[in-house]
Amino acid sequence: MNAITLHRSLNYKKTLYKLVIAMIATCMTAQAAFAGARLVTPNDMTAGSLLLKSSEAGKYIAAPAVASDYTVNISGPTSRTVVTQQFYNPSESWVEGVYVFPLPDNSAVDTLKIVSGTRVIVGEVKEKQEAKVIYEEAKNKGEAAALLEQDRPNMFTNSLANIGPHEKILVQIEYQQTIAQSSGTYDLRLPLVVAPRYNPAPIVQTVDFGASKNGLATTKNEAPQPPVLNPAEVAPTNPVSITVNLDAGFALGEVKSAYHKVDIVEKGANVRVVTLSGVVPADKDFDLTWTAAGTAPQAGLFKETVNGHDYMLGFVTPPVVATNNTAHPREITFVIDNSGSMEGTSMPQAKDSLLYGLAQLTPADRFNVIRFDDTMDNLFGSAVQADADHIAQAKSFVTGLKANGGTEMLAPMKAALVDASPNDKTYLRQIVFITDGAIGNEQELFDAIAKGRGRTRVFMVGIGSAPNSYLMTRAAELGRGTFTQIGEGTQVTSKMKDLFGKIGNPVITDVHAQIFGSTAKITPEQLPDLYRGEPVMLMADSGSLSGVLKITGMIGDQPWEVKLPLADAAQGKGISKLWARRKIAELEVASTLGQITQAEADKVVLKTALDHQIVSSLTSLVAVDHSPKRPAGYVLTRADVPLNLPSGWVWESVFGNDSPSQNVLHTDQKAEAEFLQLAKFDPAKSPAPATQVNLPQGATDAELMAIMGFILAMLAMALQFFARRKAVLA
């Protein structure tokens, strides 16, 4: 090869390389354009076939829908969740979307963002009233604004103002939560739908106004009730996708989703990525449990320093010591909810649970059964001996129960709390309360328990696909019992067995925690008794945490003690928020128990929530996008996002036969089309927006792909030829 050919071949090569690079670049751009085009996948589950009654008589508006994505990042005993809610307005009007949705009852909500195009507007925690004012002002100015308010610790309302016709807006909410653990099983529960609640008719005022307690303030606000879709008439709406990034902190054993089909991908011994198989409608709780492959850690300490102040989360699982629970005979009052909301799959589960409980009684025990809807029956009037006759009578009574009517829970709770012999030490007095908790007057029930609990312990059994976990958890806390959740018929036996294993004596009593070596405050101040398998869970805060955490208690007659050096605490993100959330719950309980006044509690709740920037009964998150949106002259209509009826519920039993669909009017498509047309030509209405139709992209990439493929193939062959020729030349 002479110099000239060499030079030519180099030139050749340069050109060739350039060509190859150019080709690849072109292909990649085409590929990117293709991917971009595919990304636009509007959520067509929102069929837009729903019309809501608007404030104007005889006028309707197409109901907005919300698609939600949950990304849960679990790290040991805590998790952080990002909820992305996509609001879609299928109507021709400007709409204020109002979405009522649940979150876990121990969640510390600290972040709200509006994602508008490429901009992200981050919200701030403000005092409830102030946040409302900011929101209303933005709303009236036609700006996009979001307001996240707490209705109950497990029930929130997200209002989104000024969603344009056919517009989609993303709202992101983030919260921190502790993971529940019991008997070596860790449990993440993600409620997805707020069940329709029964708000009792106003009761006759029985409060003694002489007393200084003004706890009634909280009972006045009824739980909001958005329209609920009748599954017989409308396809489920509000689709949900879930991803859980589970990092347990220990080698994982079984990872299981109780009610949803999931895909689980293993990423090392400690880590799993759990995704929902497909998209599901928001109509029942998502429940993920996991266990350790070997022994789960018995204790954990996590710490976070915020603004020079230390916060700590600690847990210890006490040793299992054989105790003789049968030594004490029991006096159990079973209370069963047979209200309309229990119709469907819930009622058989409730009955089976109660029948299981009856079967556990021994002749030495005493018992009673109370059933309630908006009426109640007290089977024996007071506790009777659990002999064969009485048991048979009770069984037949329970078997015959039918779900119907409203949910008046207060009277049966009060009746069950009535203790004929409060000083009788022979019997352990317990209430097993079986319900779905679909009520809006939680506080009244809490007050009743706080006032009447005496020596009685209250065990809540939550039934159904979307029980009110706030009611269950708080009632069990006030009643010093536990909360058992039964979501499916197949779980009745195992869960009730677990409950009756616990129900005897609390395994550990007189639990106290103290920190030696630094001045720290433990939250909660009064630690609850522990039942079998339960860990001591506590939080603490101090200017600077150091020294030793000492927990003491009594296992039966034996003293128990454990010491944890605080220096060993691992860093944990978000611990301060969890501390604040726990602190607020403690204050609420203290005020319910009458240990502090409502005003005192409110003061500290507000300060804690503002200091730690979390949503509470007194604080809300508000975000405003100040760029103008809705043009002047266009009216804004409020529209509640309709909710699914929880899975397994029966429409008629909740809403009756006469109300085909509350205030949702489901029309056939023909009528709807007609209606929309009529609305357009209604001269009284504000002028319809300019309606020039934009035409979508009208070509696939198939040809382009084929041509690219062809060019690349030719290039490949040319290269081959070139390489060979050189070989031959040589």
């Binding site: 090869m1 190859v20 080709m23 690849i24 292909c27 354009a33 085009a37 595919r38 636009v40 996948t41 509007p42 959520n43 067509d44 589950m45 069929a47 021709e92 016709p165 056919h166 497909g278 498509q669 023909k670 089309a673 007609e674 047309q677 357009k680 319809a688 309606t691 020039q692 139709v693 934009n694 035409l695 979508p696 992209q697 009208g698 070509a699 696939t700 990439d701 198939a702 040809e703 382009l704 792909m705 084929a706 041509i707 690219m708 493929g709 062809f710 060019i711 690349l712 193939a713 290039l715 490949a716 062959m717 290269l719 081959q720 070139f722 390489a723 050189k726 070989a727 040589a730």
Partner: protein, 202 residues
Amino acid sequence: MSSVFTTMTPARLSRRGFLNTISALLMLASLTFFGHSVWIFAKAQLAQVLLERAFTQSILTGKPVRAWSWADTTPVARIKIERIGAEAIVLKGSSGEAMAFGPALVNETSRPGTRGTSVMAAHRDTHFSFLKNVKIGDLIEVTRDDGLVFNYHATNMRVVDWNKSGIDAHEAGFHLVLATCFPFDAITHGPQRYVVEAEMVK
């Protein structure tokens, strides 16, 4: 000099290996593109078969039926142009997803048979490849998902920019617009659209 090149030096060998690798990679990329291309056409064809079935079901049951369980859209109409033997099932919503499977009734436009303008759009290289053959006066038969049939005749064809169509979804009267990309033989996407306008036959 020739003796130098009778045996291949390692450097030369590796250069050849490099060219071979590039060549193999290009071939692989080429196959990917071909595969994608075939997939687009196959999907478009298969979907129409399934949609035809779902549409018949829709008419019989009076309820929207999904053609396959994960379909994010439902068939809303069938269009037929007898003269050129064209037929297609029209889907609800003009997302990119829907248009991979069939012509789509553009959001916010009228339901066929109702007042205003129904706009149906599809890709010029799949479901609306026949659009260039439509002539003024052609009869376009639209069967709705409730079984009602409406006849339109083509009155006009024009080329417009996608965002300057001048089509009013709420115009008085009963109109139908079929739209696709223009020019028909372009390879890349452009802003132009070809529209066939039609009026309902009373």
